[in-house]
């Protein structure tokens, strides 16, 4: 869960996250304010890479993406 919490924080906190969806290798997220996303923080949380296109942020975490997404959703709910 610590990893999920770190990722939420680096995405600008729970209130900044509109949607989060796991893929085989990455978390596809949509945020309200792209400026609040901390790329270094995401990498410190274990992300291999971060791809940003406007408010869509893809966090590359490897095949554990579905497990991490479930943890994040549990925290957000």
């Amino acid at each position: 869960m610590a990893k999920a919490e770190d990722i939420i924080a680096a995405l600008g906190g729970a209130d900044n996250i509109i949607e989060i969806e796991p893929c085989a290798t990455r978390l596809r997220t949509e945020v309200k304010d792209a400026g609040a996303v901390n790329e270094a923080g995401l990498k410190a949380a274990g992300a291999f890479g971060v791809m940003r296109q406007g408010t869509v942020v893809q966090v590359v975490v490897g095949p554990e993406a579905d497990t991490i997404a479930t943890d994040i959703e549990d925290i957000l709910d």
Binding site: T25, G49, Q58, P63, D66
Partner: protein, 149 residues
């Protein structure tokens, strides 16, 4: 030492030939990629081991040495939500290299506007750990793509 087999038959394009930066830049690991023949087929297990992740469009098999190989069938295929993919095995199953795991149709993926290119990634491996990596030419399903030491 793990011999990693091609999950599909087709034309080898290398990871750099995958139209997705995560794979092309080897963010999740080194490996290679195959542009599959445009005919309905069954993607096979690249190694003997346990299926630790089973999505309709992607799977990971970990062998007894702890080497996990990711096979990703097409790009952005998560958006298809499983449509067009039939699972022939389940997460947690022990499988043999060459065993069919997913039935799909690369031509249908392409017709939907997505690339059917299949990335075959050595998860968390260093590039130096792979040898004899095939990065061009044609490959038969089940032929060796690389050796992971």
């Amino acid at each position: 030492m793990t011999r990693v087999l091609s999950p599909v038959g087709g034309r080898v394009v290398g990871l750099a030939g995958v139209p997705d930066p995560v794979f092309a830049q080897a963010m999740v690991g080194p490996g290679t990629a195959v542009d599959p023949a445009r005919e309905p087929g069954q993607a096979i297990a690249p190694v003997t081991g346990k299926i630790v992740k089973m999505h309709p469009h992607a799977y990971v098999v970990v062998d007894d040495e702890g080497h996990g190989v990711l096979v990703h069938l097409g790009i952005d295929t998560v958006q298809l939500k499983g449509e067009g993919f039939e699972l022939l095995a389940a997460e947690g199953d022990r499988v043999t290299a060459g065993q069919p795991l997913v039935a799909w149709d690369p031509a249908a993926v392409e017709a939907g506007g997505r690339s059917p290119i299949c990335a075959v990634v050595a998860l968390d491996a260093s590039a130096e750990a792979l040898s004899d990596v095939v990065e061009s030419g044609t490959v038969q399903r089940g032929a060796e793509l690389y050796v992971w030491s």
